[in-house]
């Protein structure tokens, strides 16, 4: 397999661009591939910005099969990140790219088989890096709003984030997998992202809400909540932030943010059965 030289991928004609805005942070995506632009516009339609200003420009090129020989879905997806000198390089069996924060620039070379999937994978990592640099967190959690209060339900894959989202309808849904947690005027807010399960995508509203409380989901035979110590809550929140991986400086920022969050906002273990009774305990806390 040929190794990829980023410099050998340059636009031959004027690329088409769209600007994605998540939690007030914009990435401009440029590509010569009309089909990719059209499918990205449809996939991220609730987050396309009408403005042309952006924090980071991402050039996207599609590569022939020689660079990604198994990019037909036959191989399990994996990726690895390397952080060095304000640059995050991301390697995968279906794409490779980098984000150079100080230059506000990124480049992605991805397989021409299902390029929208690889663009989305890359954007999840890119946003994790970019938002952390801006003092926010890309967080594995479900963000739900009831009675104008925001609640975050979090935990590892399979703990029930999507289930809790579905059981909670109707309510304002900011996400059932990835949300942004961002500080504004010393208060923390949940912001919606487009990075969620496809089946619940229709529920999504692109908005934000101040956070009332956090709930670490644990499936159980009975429903109850248990307050967490600040240290345990911080550790649990840190475990839900993907950008902590391999990024030492980012880890320090993340620890400080999480410590600040738990100092301000209560965190509970939410032991729950697969029904919506858990809201009685959440509503009790919100009064």
């Amino acid at each position: 397999m040929e190794s990829i030289s980023f410099n050998s991928f340059q636009f031959k004609k004027n690329p088409i661009s769209i600007v994605l805005e998540i939690a007030g942070i914009s990435i401009r995506i440029c590509t010569e591939n009309f089909q990719l632009t059209a499918s990205a516009k449809e996939r991220f339609k609730k987050f396309i910005s009408p403005h042309n200003d952006y924090f980071l420009n991402l050039d996207v090129h599609l590569s022939p099969k020689i660079h990604f020989p198994n990019a037909d879905g036959t191989e399990d997806f994996f990726n690895n990140q390397v952080f060095q000198n304000e640059k995050c390089t991301i390697y995968s069996n279906y794409f490779t790219g980098y984000i150079a924060i100080e230059k506000n620039y990124g480049k992605l070379i991805c397989a021409d088989y299902d390029p929208l999937s690889w663009l989305e994978h890359f954007l999840r990592i890119a946003y994790a890096v970019v938002v952390l640099k801006k003092g926010a967190l890309l967080f594995h959690g479900a963000g739900l709003v009831k009675n104008e209060n925001g609640f975050v339900f979090f935990g590892p894959s399979g703990c029930g984030k999507s289930t809790v989202t579905e059981l909670s309808q109707p309510c304002t849904t900011l996400g059932d997998d990835l949300i942004v947690i961002k500080k504004n005027n010393n208060h923390f807010y949940i912001h919606a992202t487009p990075f969620n399960s496809e089946k619940n995508d229709f529920l999504l509203t692109n908005t934000n809400s101040s956070i009332k409380s956090f709930y670490r989901l644990i499936q159980n035979k009975t429903t109850f909540i248990k307050e967490m110590s600040q240290a345990n809550a911080t550790a649990e929140l840190l475990s839900s932030i993907s950008s902590v991986n391999k990024n030492y400086d980012g880890s320090l920022t993340a620890i400080d943010l999480c410590s600040e969050i738990v100092n301000q906002i209560p965190c509970y273990e939410m032991h729950f059965t697969r029904d919506n009774k858990f809201w009685r305990y959440v509503n009790g806390n919100s009064e």
Partner: protein, 97 residues
């Protein structure tokens, strides 16, 4: 025991904070987060590279009113576990920086 004469020091590969008497320690390269109870936290705080393990154990005995043999045994077990997880290094000489 020879280990008692060594100087535990936190690995540069860790990032940590102490919240309400409990340490939260991250190893970014391993993508792992640990929390310590108050005794473990105090050992972690004293692992500056300037304190001999024997002296750290004396501090634990005094601060937590623990019986000497138990304090020694538990501390050595804890330190060895942190060393195996690459969170602590045992130095032969104190860190004079």
């Amino acid at each position: 025991m020879e280990i008692l004469n060594k100087y535990p020091v936190k690995s540069n590969a860790t990032a940590s904070r102490v919240l309400q008497g409990e340490a939260v320690v991250v190893l970014p390269l391993e993508s792992v987060v640990h929390t310590f109870d108050p005794v473990g936290t105090r050992i972690w705080e004293l692992s500056t590279g300037n304190n001999m393990l024997a002296n750290i154990i004396n501090s634990i005995q005094n601060e937590f009113e623990v019986e000497a043999n138990k304090a020694t045994q538990d501390a050595i077990e804890f330190i060895n576990e942190l060393v195996s997880k690459k969170m602590l290094i045992l130095s032969e000489i104190p860190d004079e920086c």
